[in-house]
Amino acid sequence: MAENKYLIFLGCAIPYRVSAYEISSRKVLQKLGVELVEMPEFNCCGLPLDPVSHEMMLILAARNLALAEQKGLNILTLCPGCAGTLKKVNKVLKEDKALREEINRHLKEAGLEFKGTADAKHIMQVLIEDVGLEKIKDTVVKPLTTLKVAEHNGCHILRPREFIGFDDPEDPKTLKTLIEATGATCLDYMDETECCGAPSVGVSDKIALQLARDKLNHIKMVDAQAMITICPFCHIMYDTNELRIEKMFNETYGIPILHYPQLLGLAMGLSPEELAIGELRVDASKILKQIAEGEK
């Protein structure tokens, strides 16, 4: 399979309400020479339905992998949940013949078959493994050297270790390395790998928001000027909900939450408009100004 050509798998959350992540990702990937092909048709990766029926999740994930196989391309996802699910199901079905046959009986009803010949990768993995740090650094024309940020990884691109195994779940390095490639400083803070709480929102808003607040407190403690995410759900938890959390718990943060491709795009010299930074709920003008001044 061609190395830098992928089927882009948007998932459900991004087209529903996180366009800025898609816009900025497409922009930076284009700059890096990564070619994206649209999925011929789409269904949810299956993850949100796993709690209801594991078998349903397996079929839905396998269906997407089978479509990618037909196209002869690997999948690139922007959502760690989609990447984690497709990776896990790919591995399980490749290794467990009986289960593969059972799932294929379902897929056959729609004329599809899972063979295990396509891979699924999250954008972060594509950037670090296939594009490579050197190439990324070459595109950085405006290093963000005055900026101090905190990273937040998505759970499903780290855990479970046994199935994902792409970064160290207890001490993940990829996002940090990618952030540092932009010239910005990436700060360490307490409980860095802790979940944002998003999957619990539908069941208990309160617990989920307390979790998000916990993280915002920790990054405030180290004076991070922004948080960098690589997941649409984490982004909703921190950006969409930041003002709500401030009101609910009587806190002040004012910390903008940027999608990693937005950060990289700024370092590539793309404009805030091109990167849809205006779509962020938490005002990012302070750091944009700082970046602009840094250039002078």
């Binding site: 796993d50 709690p51 009803e109 759970c155 855990r159």
Partner: protein, 172 residues
Amino acid sequence: MVEKEPIKASEIDTKFKYEITKMHGGEKLMRCFQCGTCTSDCPVARFSETYRPRQIIRMTQLGLKERVLNSDTLWLCASCFTCTDRCPQGVEVASVIRVLRNLAAEKGIVPRVFKEQVSSVLDSGYAYKIPELRMKKRESLGLPPLPKGNPESICKTLRGLGFLKHLEKQGE
């Protein structure tokens, strides 16, 4: 969870644990030695008075089937997999909880949000109903059209799955 109620012998389903260990992800249930790592590292437990993964595992081992499957707290897990990664005994805690949720869902015990997502996938391929306006807006944002779902094909592949009957019952 109603842990304060004394356990009656009649409540115990001695076969329950075997039901779980037969299922994908539940195989290592009996290895748990109740160290408490899962609960102490669980982000949800930190902010919940009632959610305790270690307790769910113990109740499952003991065979308190009805209590576990009817418990609201079962649905609080954020599926972050921290417990699974850190369990010293290799119990796939998050997957055991998912197995339990699947069994509850088969009996129709499932929070509404999950049912809505299943219905939406069956109708459109997407877990959320994406407003027409959003789809149109893509063009002005310079984004390619959204790939379409294929509900007919999706329904064919999912035919025969037990959970679907609970959707029909709802009249959806």
